[in-house]
Assembly symmetry: C2
């Protein structure tokens, strides 16, 4: 394996492992369990799950993989804080969206060459990218991996006892 490929492989493994941790935490929880707050007065598990799904969904256009699959999640899970708007998504439909989004993302990730990963993401202009070449797809992938880990760490606090 070339050095470039090995570096990408490490990053994709990191992404996958954090998605799997989120899977283990959220998938299979009952609607009641998903209502638990991670700490008193803080976000509920359902909110963190929806938030991760929505943020991952937004990666599709940001990395140039494709259109958003579930833009309807943003109002509930990104632009408004938890408990401020009614959730019109069931745990079943959220699970389906979550899995569909992550599948589509991973398909897209797998097609990128090393040099594709170092190209600019779609929210930075060509001109800005000349000055700031770190605003590329790979930086986004690593940042969103850390974003997954950040909220998985929180959600773990409310995990039901086995």
């Amino acid at each position: 394996m070339t050095t470039e490929k090995s570096l990408i492989d490490s990053a994709l493994r990191g992404w996958k492992s954090n998605v799997e941790s989120a899977d283990k935490l959220f998938v299979g929880l009952s609607p009641e369990q998903l209502e638990h707050e991670v700490a008193p007065g803080k976000n509920r598990l359902i909110y963190l799950w929806g938030h991760l799904a929505a943020v991952n969904d937004a990666l599709l256009p940001l990395l140039g993989i494709g259109e958003r699959l579930h833009p309807e999640l943003d109002g509930m899970f990104i632009s408004n804080p938890d408990k401020s708007v009614p959730l019109t998504v069931s745990e079943q439909s959220l699970k389906a969206a979550w899995q569909e989004i992550n599948r589509k993302l991973y398909e897209g990730f797998s097609k990128f060459s090393a040099s594709d990963w170092t190209k600019r993401h779609t929210a930075v202009s060509e001109k800005d990218f000349e000055r700031e070449p770190h605003r590329n797809r790979f930086t986004v992938l690593l940042g969103r991996t850390a974003h997954l880990a950040y909220h998985v760490g929180q959600a773990t606090l409310a995990r039901p006892k086995a």
Copy 2:
């Protein structure tokens, strides 16, 4: 910048940004504030900070950068759960250790070439590494970056109101 260098640059930026998030959260808290639990019955902030310092310190030998600087942290922050052994470290000495460890690590990181990053870490044998080449320094760096993010996410829940 070559593709390899660009990929490494993204990863080092990610590491740095998560260390800085932890800095912002922990450095400057009073001893009383560091006693706060992130959720009822869960780890205290002082424990998470010490835990991150100890885990980062262990990266020095794991990545072949040098000897441990603060192995004395392990008994308090890795091998025993929070509140099970008395802490013999003040917030001032923890802060000094934290900064010293992260400085030494970053110095070491900066000296690695792209191909150094894809070499095995010191806890995997040459033989195992032939079969599992992803057990390399870069995978460790990304994993520990996610580990920082995971606990920063938790610590944020107990951040004192500004």
